[in-house]
């Protein structure tokens, strides 16, 4: 007798009822966003928020796009390089911490892990000062740099967990064959690291795309700002119609949600790695 079989049909029905209720709960705000962004302005007043649109209406998306297209591309310009670079650096660091243990390397690793939980308010002022000194403050390059640095703890963790599963015998054999630090990285680790790269890239893409705090501090200039900062500015403005605000928000959410929907399994692995359960 399975555990599932132990429950009576009424119990099963109740379980499905609860599961469906929560599915509706999680989908409701998304549904409302899509609904509002698909209706003309006359139909989005507070009294008719839940009314269905009478016809397919894509005008909002078309009108919202010019408002945020520059910021959308800024986000792409920031997110893609930062995700790639921080994943690559993470692979090197993970390799060091998994296979080239040095005295106190575990302690150093723990000190780096604190970066995952760090409240950035505790480092923002020195960060801005340093970026100003090296002429990176207020530039796209500066924000990429910042995301690379603060992405290292999580990417290092993802790759360390992954490389820890590579048998040390393999490494030792390569050392006997004369392979050094980079030789082993290039010939043994990199060729098998594709799954870890996928997890790290997706995780970093999502996090950096969704970041607001670092973006608004380092790159608040409206024309250079990332998408999240632009959406926040639009949502705080009373002169822009609600339906346009919602259409812009849908555009901001689309890339990460699509990545999640199409690459969900890899996304979940990053999620669990981030919980220190590699």
């Amino acid at each position: 007798m399975t555990r599932a079989g132990a429950l009576r049909p009424v119990g099963r029905l109740l379980i499905y009822a609860v599961l469906i209720f929560f599915a509706a709960y999680y989908l409701m705000p998304v549904y409302m966003l899509l609904l509002t962004s698909a209706k003309p302005f006359e139909k989005v007043g507070v009294t008719q928020m839940w009314n269905l649109p009478t016809s397919v209406y894509l005008d909002n998306a078309i009108r919202a796009w010019p408002l945020v297209s520059a910021n959308f591309w800024n986000s792409v310009m920031i997110t893609v390089p930062a995700a790639v670079i921080s994943s690559f650096i993470g692979s090197l660091n993970g390799y060091v911490f998994a296979k080239w243990k040095f005295p106190y390397s575990n302690l150093v690793f723990m000190l780096i892990l604190f970066g995952i939980f760090l409240p950035y308010q505790g480092i923002l002022i020195p960060l801005v000062q340093l970026l100003t000194v090296i002429h990176l403050y207020g530039s796209v390059l500066g924000l990429i740099f910042v995301h690379c640095v603060f992405g290292m703890p999580i990417t290092g963790l993802i790759f360390r967990s992954y490389f820890a599963t590579v048998p040390s015998d393999l490494i030792d054999a390569a050392k006997i064959d004369g392979a050094g630090f980079f030789g082993i990285y290039y010939w043994i680790m990199l060729p098998i690291a594709a799954p870890a790269f996928a997890v790290a890239l997706i995780w970093q893409f999502t996090n950096i795309w969704n970041d607001f705090l670092l973006g608004v501090v380092v790159l608040s200039n409206p024309s250079l700002a990332p998408m999240t900062v632009a959406i926040n500015n639009i949502a705080g403005s009373f002169s822009i119609e609600w339906n346009l605000q919602m259409a812009a928000a849908v555009l901001a959410a689309a890339p990460t949600v699509l990545v999640y929907l199409f690459l969900g399994r890899l996304f979940m692995r990053g999620l669990l790695a981030g919980a220190l359960k590699g």
């Binding site: 780096i112 949502a235 999620l271």
Partner: protein
Amino acid sequence: MVLSPSILAVLVFIYGFILWTGYISVVNWNDVTPTYGFVGLQNFQRLFGQTPRFLTDLKNTLEFSVLFIGQCLIIGLMLAILLDQHIKGEAFFRTVYVMPFAISAIVTGVAWKWLMNPSSGINTIFDVLGLKFLENKWFADQNIGIAATAIAAAWQMSGYTMALYLAGLRGISADLRDAARIDGASGFNYYRYVAIPLVMPVTLTALIILGTISLRLFDLTASMTSSGPAYATDTPAFFMFQVTFQQYKYSLGAAIGVVMLFVALFLIVPYFFTIRDEVER
């Protein structure tokens, strides 16, 4: 020995910056131009003694943590247990539940701000369902304030908590499940006496992650409510941002940062001791 320079960079950007923030918090740089005259703990005295807003923020953080973490743990554990019952369409439910986690807090805030419009949104749903007594002014109400933010935040993170719990439940070995069943622990009793105690480490991990999110709460506040009536929805992170980058009181902002760092340390250090064995394998 090749020590990646990037490791050094991280350490400098975390710990060097923390020390520098600590230094700024004890000087008198409360203007646009940097000045570094030592003033001791004056900035902290000002925060705790003469800034009611900061005390409100601390109270808000505490209230938010309890409401937000409570919702995430209860909803997360419940949904994980339900999904553990050989559910048809499990993949669909799981995908829907975790999806808000892929959406930025900014978009979440924009959506919930609209949903919690006093004369529309959720209140309309309550109206239709005959639950008029549940209607309220949400974050526009000084007494409810931060609870509204906690609801939006839990919408984003409770599915994530579910995923952590589900992974924990699936990690329980089949042998143990069978043994529990032979001992007569089926259904409710299996979870009550076997599974839930076994996923305690997940609860601890979730507490730490959700706790640091509570401490850092900023994006949702910015996009959804700002400070709210009588600072009802204000947070230390939001205050720090405004005082530092809009009012240029850098030393006061640094002092807020230091307080937040201390709270984070109290959360993280004990946690690191418990995961040390896992890291050192």
